[in-house]
Symmetry: C2
Subunit: 219 residues, 2 copies
DNA sequence: ACGAGGGGCACTGTCGACAGTCGCCACGTC
DNA sequence: GACGTGGCGACTGTCGACAGTGCCCCTCGT
């Protein structure tokens, strides 16, 4: 009985609600990396059948929050320091493409303005969880504004793993998500300097990678 | 009764076999893009229960071979010409990262040799399906040899969508997969010229994108 | 004391059935 | 003839139960 039962107020499917509940249970740290996620236990906690929670778990597996162990048993995923570095390099490639497409677009000025507005939200948040949301929200917005739907999808499929990495190294990650860490990206986009923008994104990602990789290694 | 029943010879799970059967049924064109994939019909065809085929379908959905329509109904996916172009740009970014990492690696020479060997297989194949496999195999190898596991995963999550795109424009795609289209990539890697390698990959992807996008638009 | 064997336990894999919902078609009404 | 309406069929959502399979611990024999 680790997670609260599902409320029956909204009209979404039980699977969706179970998925959400499980995701937030993992992301909030209620389940630690490596913890076994038994279908029967979760079904009991959530008040749904095993089949339903099973589907939610499979979805989380695709997201990378959950990984398969022996005999199909699922457990909360955790990343090695090496994987964290790899992950951020892939992110850099993806977001590098995003800024390139944004700069090349005729709507560049409007896009830059949107991004600058989003930048503001990064300083407003104090609570760690809110900071994480603001940071990921900014980067997702960056991908969305590229107008490349496949890019957005690819990025989102990385998001789960990113959250795992952040979860592991949640201590003192605040500086990485500060406003002035992201401002140079917008600056370069505004100037229309694609190469500089890519370089800045790359540096941002490299720094973040080291930050979280060290935190992972330390834990 | 469109697909043959599952053989009970091997020891893999029914879900895995169903998944494989459905995937190959879609990829072989037995189901056309837009076709509705009913759980009951498929369960009957495959000789498994609805729950089992359901899980296989959900997996295919994540792979991008299948997409959700109204009221959760699933149908065979198809890509617009725009999405095909987007897809190949993402691929270019990913494989660009791959060649960069390969060039930067101390094992560059050995990697280049491996790739050159793989290059040979591209000319051997005559049948379209085999050519597709050889081509995708080469690019997957490229990602694998980068040593970046997250990159490989990201690329593989794009693979299903790629196959859909290829499926749509299967006519006369042969030249795109020829050996000399890929050789320049290996050449640049061998020379250790990362920028040139990235540029070559980019051009290769752009050309392929146009090729398949046009074929998609025509169909 | 220590190793082999066996039985229970805790899982997941798979299945068949019931329930709710949406679209469609025929029918009756104005 | 057009339109509302009621039943019907086809789907997916969800559930509870049975089956198979390792793992662990307990027991028994030496």
């Amino acid at each position: 009985m680790s997670i609260e039962s599902l409320s029956a107020l909204d009209r979404s499917t039980l699977r969706e609600r179970s998925l959400e509940a499980l995701r937030s249970a993992i992301l909030s740290g209620r389940y630690r990396p490596g913890d076994h996620l038994g279908e029967v236990e979760l079904a009991g906690s959530l008040g749904v059948s095993r089949g339903t929670v099973r589907e939610a778990l499979r979805h989380l597996q695709q997201e990378g929050l959950v990984t398969a162990g022996t005999r199909g048993m699922l457990r909360v995923n955790s990343l090695t320091a090496i994987e964290v570095r790899e992950l951020f390099r892939v992110r850099a490639a993806l977001e590098g493409l995003a800024v390139r497409e944004i700069v090349a677009s005729p709507r560049r000025a409007a896009t830059a303005a949107t991004l600058r507005a989003a930048l503001e939200r990064l300083s407003d948040e104090d609570e760690p969880a809110a900071r994480i949301e603001a940071d990921l929200g900014f980067h997702l917005l960056l991908c969305r504004l590229s107008g490349n739907s496949m890019l957005v999808e690819a990025w989102q499929r990385l998001e789960g793993r990113m959250r795992v990495a952040i979860l592991d190294g949640s201590a003192a990650q605040a500086p990485m998500m500060a406003r002035d860490r992201h401002a140079p990206i917008v600056d370069a986009i505004e100037r229309g300097d694609a190469d500089a923008a890519v370089r800045v994104v790359d540096e941002h990602m490299t720094a973040a990678a080291e930050h979280f990789a060290e935190a992972t290694a330390a834990s």
